[in-house]
Subunit: 347 residues, 2 copies
C-alpha cells in the first residue's frame, strides 16, 4: 500500500485528509484528542474500522494530555475524553467498540502508575491499528474465494484501505480475489453526497492498478438489468444481531436491485462491526449530516439558495437481502442470528 490511512508517529496521530482526495494527498498531524474528535466528525477519517482506530488513538492521545498523576483525577478525565470521542458519530459501532476496549484496558491496568497506563493505552491503540490490517487480510481470504474469475463487482462507498487501517474490507475481498489470480473489474458507485466512491475507491484502486469504472449511484440498477454486474460487495457501519446491516446511504437500494436480478450481495466487515446488543436494524441510530454536503460540491453550490435538504448518512439493508456476511472468523449466511453469535464463540 503506497499510502497510510492512519498512523501513530512520534506521539502524534497522522491521517491522510480524505476530504481532499483525489486532488491532494495531504497528511495531517494531530496532537490532541479534541483535534482527533473533530477530524472524525468532519470526515478527515471515515469508514467504520478506520473510525475505530482513530477513536483508540484519540483516546491514547487524550490520556497523554492529562497532567494529573492522581489515578482518581486521571480516571475522571479519561472518562470525559471517551465521552467526547463517543459523541462524534453515532452509526459506526466500531467507534464504541474501540472506546469500550480502551475503557476495559484502563480498568484492567488502573493499579499501575498513571505514566505506565498512558504507555499501555498507546500500545493498545497501535495494536488495534495493526490488528485491523491483519483482520482485513483474513476477511479478504474468506471472501476472495466467493468472487468468480472474470467478474465485474459493484461496490458502494469506500470500504477500502482508506476506510480501515489498510487493505480494506469490501475492497480487501476484491484485492484478495485478484491475489488469487482472478480477473476482477470493479464498478464504483460515486456515492453522493461525500463522493467516497468517485474520490476514494477510484483513487485507491487505481493506485493498485485495479480496473475501476466510476458510475453515478442511479446507474447500478440499469447495469444490473443489462447483465453487467456479477456480484456486489460492500462494507458495513453496524451489523445487528439478526444480520441487518447499516451502511452508507444507498446501500439498501443496491441490495434491493441485486436481489431482483439474482446477483449475490456480500457484506464484508470485521467482528468489531457486529453489535449483538442490537436485535434488528431498526434500532441502529442513523446519523443526519449537514445539508451543505448535499447543496455544495467542494465550494460550488449546486442547489437554489434556501432549498430544503435531507441528508441521512446511512441506511439499513435487511438481512433477507444479504447473500453472506464475510468476517475474519468466517462467512455467515441465511441464519444470521445463530451464525453471527457463533462467530464470537469461535474465538
Amino acid at each position: 500500500m503506497s499510502f497510510k490511512t492512519i498512523d501513530w508517529q512520534d506521539d502524534k496521530v497522522v491521517m491522510i485528509d480524505q476530504r481532499l482526495l483525489p486532488e491532494k494527498e495531504i497528511y495531517r498531524e494531530y496532537s490532541s484528542y479534541l483535534e482527533v474528535a473533530e477530524a472524525i466528525k468532519e470526515m478527515v477519517v471515515r469508514g467504520a474500522p478506520a473510525i475505530g482506530v482513530a477513536a483508540a488513538m484519540g483516546i491514547a492521545l487524550g490520556a497523554r494530555e492529562i497532567e494529573s498523576d492522581d489515578m482518581d483525577s486521571f480516571s475522571k478525565q479519561f472518562s470525559e475524553i471517551c465521552s467526547v470521542i463517543g459523541a462524534t458519530r453515532p452509526t459506526a459501532v466500531n467507534l464504541f467498540w474501540a472506546i469500550e476496549r480502551m475503557k476495559r484496558l484502563f480498568e484492567e491496568y488502573r493499579t499501575e502508575t498513571v505514566e505506565a497506563l498512558k504507555g499501555i493505552l498507546k500500545q493498545e491503540a497501535i495494536s488495534i491499528c495493526h490488528e485491523d490490517i491483519a483482520i482485513n487480510r483474513e476477511i479478504g481470504k474468506n471472501g476472495g474465494v466467493l468472487l468468480k474469475d472474470g467478474s465485474t463487482v459493484l461496490t458502494h462507498c469506500n470500504a477500502g484501505a482508506l476506510a480501515t487501517a489498510g487493505y480494506g474490507t469490501a475492497l480487501g475481498v476484491i484485492r484478495s480475489a485478484i491475489d488469487y489470480g482472478k480477473n476482477i473489474k470493479v464498478l464504483a458507485d460515486e456515492t453522493r453526497p461525500f463522493l467516497q466512491g468517485a474520490r476514494l475507491t477510484a483513487w485507491e484502486l487505481m493506485k493498485d492498478g485495479i480496473d475501476v469504472t466510476v458510475i453515478t449511484d442511479n446507474m447500478s440498477g440499469h447495469l444490473m438489468k443489462k447483465g453487467d454486474v456479477d456480484a456486489v460487495v460492500v462494507g458495513a457501519d453496524r451489523i445487528a444481531s439478526n444480520g441487518d446491516v447499516a451502511n452508507k446511504i444507498g446501500t439498501y437500494m443496491v441490495a434491493v436491485l441485486a436481489a431482483r436480478h439474482g446477483i449475490p450481495f456480500y457484506v464484508a466487515a470485521p467482528l468489531s462491526t457486529i453489535d449483538l446488543a442490537i436485535s434488528t436494524g431498526d434500532d441502529i441510530p442513523i446519523e443526519e449530516r449537514t445539508p451543505t454536503e448535499v447543496t455544495h460540491i467542494k465550494d460550488r453550490q449546486i442547489t437554489p439558495e434556501g432549498v430544503n435538504i435531507k441528508n441521512p448518512a446511512f441506511d439499513v439493508t435487511p438481512a433477507e437481502l444479504i447473500t453472506a456476511i464475510i468476517t475474519e472468523e468466517g462467512v455467515v449466511s441465511r441464519d444470521y442470528i445463530r451464525g453471527l453469535k457463533g462467530l464470537f464463540e469461535k474465538r
Copy 2:
C-alpha cells in the same frame, strides 16, 4: 409561470440556458438551426417535450435560412436540416415526433410557394409550443386527482415547466393537485450527473412556492422504507407500446423500490412520447453521454484523472412496475398494449 423555457421571438428561438440554473437565469437567442441543434445536444434545453418544441422551432428556423426559391432545392435542404436536428439526441422520441410532424406539413403544403411554406412551418412550430402547454394542463388535470391530500411525492430528474414548453408533465400533475387544494410536498432526487433535480426541479418549484426537499439519488429507498414517500411521479423520454418507459437514468431503481414498498409509481407524458412502433423497452436506444458529466461538477473535477466512466443517460422501467401512465387523453394502467393504442384511437 415567471420564466419561459422556450419561445419564438422576432424570428429567433429564445431558450433559458438550463446548464446555468439555478445560479444564473440567462436566455439565449438562436438564429440558425445549427445553433439550435447544438443547444439540444449540449442540453441548453432538455426534457423530451421541450426537445420536441426546440426541434420544430429549429426546423422552422432552418427553413427560413434556405436561400433557394426552387422547391426541389428547398426540399433537399429541408431534408438535410431535419437530419441534422434528428442526430442530436437518440432517446427522447418527441424529437422524431416533431421532425415527422414538420415533414408531413412540408409534404402537405409543398404546392405552395417557398415563402409561404416557410411561414407555415414557423406557425406550426409555434403551435407545437402552445399545444404542449395545453397538453400538460390536461395531463395535470388527469393526474392531479390521483395524488392524495397530504402526500409527499417523489420525483426524479426534471419533468417540469423546464422540460416542456411550460407547466410540466410530472410537475404538472403536482401543480394540478395543488390547484385542486391538496397539500403536497415534493421530494426531488438530485439526479446525477446533470443534477436536473437539484438544480431545475428545486428552482422551478421554489419559484412557485411549492414545498420541495432535495435528496441525493441514493436516499429515496431509505425514505420509502421509513414511510416518508406516498407516491412517485416521473416523466418519460420514450414509452414503448407495451408500456415500458425510458426515462432519466435512475428511474428504474426508484420504480423497483416503489414496487417493493407498495408506493404508486406514475409516469406522466404526452402522447408524443409514446412510440407505438417500438414493442418493448429493449428496443429503445439509450444515449451514452460524455464522461466529463460524471467526472466534473461544473468546472471542478471530482474523480482521479483518467478513471473509467460509464454515463448512460437513460434507463428503461418495465411496465409491470408502473401503476399508471398519465396522458392528456386519459390514464392507462395494467393492459398497456391495449390501453396505449386506445389513446390514439380516441383522438
